[in-house]
């Protein structure tokens, strides 16, 4: 139990003194991505091997949260030189121990190879994926053991809380947050300081703070990684926030489908209570605060603030009109301050380093860094953090390593299902809250899906609407009925039943849903349709007027044919076709019967001579 700020400082010092800077360590990522690829086995084998060879005094092995480079998992870092091994299997452990740990040699085949230069990279910070990033919120993700509070304290954890509670008045904390320019990183982008101030000034003796970890966008996993890898940073931010606002109870609303995040957060809360950072009379300054975890209701819409509040109250997770804000009347009609977990994790950084330090990074109205889950047709899939205002091109090519197989990039979808598609021409766009909104998309929860030339934008719009029609809560008519009808029209278009007036009706519907829907989810739901209509109108026209899918995706509009000059009559496609739609004698031209063909594409993938094309 830590009773005073001095005790905390003493603990950190003693932890640092105990550490031998030359002691070797093995850090194995056990985030969900690497775990799925068997990193738990790798960690166990390391422990066993170290025990067998009696290396415990010389080597420490520990689990860490997500390093971000999920594409190359399981990721292992060997310290203190920070040697970076990727795609490590349990069978590789023996070699790593004998070569790297005992003799200081590299295991060449496990090193990361730069795809452009072909050079092997030895250290973590030299990998281009990491080199181009500015990791702040995620800084300690791959460094500390999320289940051990001492690890967090050793890297300076809870110092911000000590500083805030002992040296700063509540007003000063809010001023600092306001001055830092921090905006809600859950996607809304509302100025955090202003929200805190309104909540602090709202009348009421009981106030609440909520951490929103109900991340539900397809392809986004930044909140999950943070909750799994560095849960204490979120708790610390919430404690500081609660102190500044004057709340004594906090809730962490976490998606129930994130079992590891729930587990790590619960462990973190228990440890924080044990050490006296949560509970009664925190650090002897007479401030009481407690945090309770609430499991998400299992609906996408529960991430919307008013639906989330309803869900915590035990009512159905559906939004209400927010003409009276949650900061004035939220949870049980009490002033409630809700922020995304990433926003909370920024608070210790601002308190420790000052508002000016935070505001130095970023653009005019968007300060600090942005976290994105970079996925789709990109070489380096993973979790990245870059300064606000970084051009899209830089994110995709420098950090993401470009598009695989040398294909052309067609569009980038940001902001999850309610974001928009940004076309290739706008790749120089600096990514911040306002620029993305101007381009018809949004920051959202930080999903970034890269699409290559083989993507049909009409089909993309259809796909996201299909997701939304089941995830709309169904309360208001525009969102429920409107999305259904937009999907109906788009399905018609992709199946060759598009009519001339469809595009106008689609635009009309999208605008109505945007203006008339009740909550943020509904209002942003037509963004994919609106942005694809705006930037890829020709592709829609080709579908509707010429009944043609230029990208060769929509099955009803394409036809597979065999090129006469390329087909050698090898028979590879003929054997694999599930419909027996291909006919032809050996060593003679084969032909596809379009009436039997179901356009599955197996023949095209199997042809060794690239003789099969889509029209």
């Amino acid at each position: 139990m830590i009773r005073t700020c001095q005790e905390l400082q003493a603990l950190q010092n003693s932890l640092l003194n105990q550490r031998d800077p030359n002691k070797q360590y093995v850090r194995v990522c056990v985030g969900t991505g690497c775990r799925a690829r068997g990193s738990l086995d790798v960690l166990e084998t390391f422990k066993e091997e170290i025990r067998k060879q009696s290396l415990e005094i010389k080597v420490e092995s520990k689990q860490t949260g997500c390093h971000g480079f999920c594409e190359r998992g399981p990721v292992v870092v060997i310290g203190p030189k920070e040697i970076f091994y990727q795609q490590v299997k349990a069978t590789d452990v023996n070699e790593i121990v004998s070569k790297t740990l005992l003799n200081g040699e590299f295991v060449d085949r496990l090193l990361y190879q730069d795809s452009t230069t072909g050079q092997k990279v030895q250290h973590e910070h030299e990998v281009p994926f990491y080199k181009m990033q500015t990791r702040r919120i995620l800084a300690n993700n791959g460094r500390i053991d999320p289940t051990n509070i001492l690890d967090y304290i050793a890297v300076g954890g809870y110092q911000a809380l000590a500083k805030a509670i002992s040296n700063m008045s509540q007003e000063e904390i809010i001023n600092a947050v306001e001055k830092s320019g921090l905006r809600g990183l859950g996607g809304g982008g509302f100025p955090t300081g202003r929200k805190w101030r309104t909540c602090r000034e709202a009348s009421g003796d009981i106030k609440f703070v909520i951490g929103n970890g109900d991340e539900g966008d397809p392809g986004a996993f930044s909140d999950r990684s943070l909750m799994e890898a560095n849960p204490h940073s979120i708790l610390e931010g919430m404690i500081i926030g609660a102190y500044a606002i004057g709340a004594n109870q906090g809730f962490l609303y976490v998606r129930a489908e994130y079992p590891l995040a729930l587990k790590h957060l619960q462990i973190a809360i228990d440890q924080a209570k044990e050490y006296g950072f949560l509970g009664k009379n925190i650090l002897n300054y007479g401030f009481d605060f407690d945090i309770k975890i609430v499991r998400g209701g299992g609906a996408f819409v529960c991430g919307e603030s008013s639906a989330l509040v309803a869900s915590i109250e035990g009512r159905m997770g559906e939004p209400r009109a927010k003409y009276i804000h949650t900061v004035e009347r939220g949870l049980w009609n009490k002033p409630t301050n809700l922020n995304n977990v990433k926003t909370w994790a920024c608070i210790p950084l601002i308190v420790n380093n000052g508002a000016d330090w935070y505001a130095k990074t970023g653009t005019g109205k968007s300060k600090g860094t942005a976290v994105f889950s970079l996925v789709g047709k990109v070489n380096n899939t993973g979790l990245i953090e870059v300064p606000m205002g970084t051009p899209l091109k830089q994110i995709i090519y420098d950090v993401g390593g470009g598009v695989p197989e040398g294909k052309k990039i067609k569009a980038v979808q940001t902001g999850g299902p309610s974001g928009g598609c940004i076309p290739e021409e706008l790749l120089d766009l600096p990514v911040d809250f306002d620029k993305l909104t101007e381009a018809g998309s949004m920051m959202g929860s930080g999903g970034m899906i890269v699409m290559d030339e083989n993507t049909c934008m009409v089909d993309v719009a259809r796909y996201f609407l299909d997701f939304l029609q089941y995830e709309s809560c169904g309360k208001c008519v525009p969102c429920r009925e409107g999305i259904k009808r937009m999907l109906e029209i788009l399905t018609g278009i992709t199946e060759g039943r598009g009519r001339g007036e469809d595009l106008g009706l689609l635009q009309e519907l999208a605008e109505m849903i945007k203006d008339f829907s009740l909550c943020g989810l509904g209002q942003t739901s037509p963004n994919t349709v609106l942005s694809t209509l705006r930037y890829f109108g020709e592709e829609y026209q080709a579908h509707v007027k010429e009944k043609r899918c230029p990208a060769g995706v929509c099955r009803s509009l394409i036809e597979y044919t065999i090129l006469e000059d390329k087909c050698t009559g090898c028979g590879a496609c003929l054997k694999l076709c599930p419909q027996q739609a291909i006919q032809g004698e050996q060593k003679k031209l084969h032909v596809i019967d379009p009436t039997k063909c179901i356009r599955c594409g197996i023949c095209r993938d199997s042809c060794p001579f690239i003789a099969i094309t889509v029209r």
């Binding site: 009109a321 003409y323 208001c476 008519v477 429920r480 009925e481 409107g482 009808r485 109505m512 008339f516």
Partner: protein, 238 residues
């Protein structure tokens, strides 16, 4: 406080001044735009609103344009609390266009509701561009609020989300709480008597627009004492 919303009203005696469609009116602070507008005789179409139930804000027919300072936005008038100096436009071009499309979506879902068909004729919706369905619930939630708030029941509620949302008793079993009072049916805008117009059921009716209203033959001056069918007004405008 209702189980479906926590928009409990703030009531105070302070009067504020606002402008509705160009007319300056005064009303108690804390009341909603819809309440004030109806009190002064302005018509705003609604479906999920009932003056004795908690406003729910789901049908979105009552959307109006509000100018507050320099900011103009569209709000649901049944929920928006009035403020001093706001300017309300009930039928701005933007709102009217979107409201029509919204009603078009509703009719396409429940074409056999007289309430909806009447509304359609009133606001001049003459064509439905979507495939007609024949659902018997528009999910306005009136029955649920009626049961819970006026009948002290709470026998029915919403289940599911998105396309799977429906009104049902818990676990789809007959409820012990339900007293078969029929209040839910009484307030339902869909299971009323169907419109006996000139078209077959399942289409947009518009009969009121096509036929000449009897009132014009009976009275020289247009003096409709029943709920106005709107025909006369529309004729004047044309």
């Amino acid at each position: 406080m209702s189980i479906y919303s926590n928009n409990s009203k703030i009531r105070c005696d302070r009067m504020v001044t606002l402008i509705i469609d160009g007319t300056k009116v005064q009303a108690e602070e804390g009341s909603t735009i819809l309440e004030v507008a109806r009190f002064y005789g302005f018509e705003i179409p609604t479906l999920c609103y009932h003056e004795d139930l908690t406003p729910y804000g789901a049908c979105r027919l009552c959307m109006v344009e509000v100018k507050d300072g320099r900011r103009t936005r569209l709000v649901a008038s049944c929920l928006y609390p009035i403020k001093d100096g706001i300017e309300v436009k009930i039928n701005s071009d933007k709102v009217v266009k979107r409201r029509k499309l919204l009603l078009e979506l509703m009719i396409a879902r429940c074409p056999n509701s007289k309430t909806l068909q009447d509304l359609a004729s009133k606001i001049g919706l003459e064509k439905v561009r979507f495939k007609m369905e024949n659902k018997d619930c528009i999910l306005c939630g009136l029955c649920i609020r009626m049961c819970a708030e006026q009948m002290s029941g709470g026998a029915i509620g919403f289940v599911g989300r998105g396309q799977k949302r429906e009104v049902i008793t818990p676990f789809r079993e007959s409820s012990d709480i339900c007293r078969n009072c029929g209040a839910c049916m009484y307030i339902c805008p869909i299971v009323t008597l169907q419109c006996r117009g000139t078209k077959s059921p399942g289409d947009l009716c518009n009969s009121c627009l096509i036929i000449t209203p009897q009132c014009l033959e009976r009275y020289e001056q247009v003096m409709c004492t029943l709920e106005s069918c709107g025909k006369c007004v529309q004729k004047e405008e044309k």
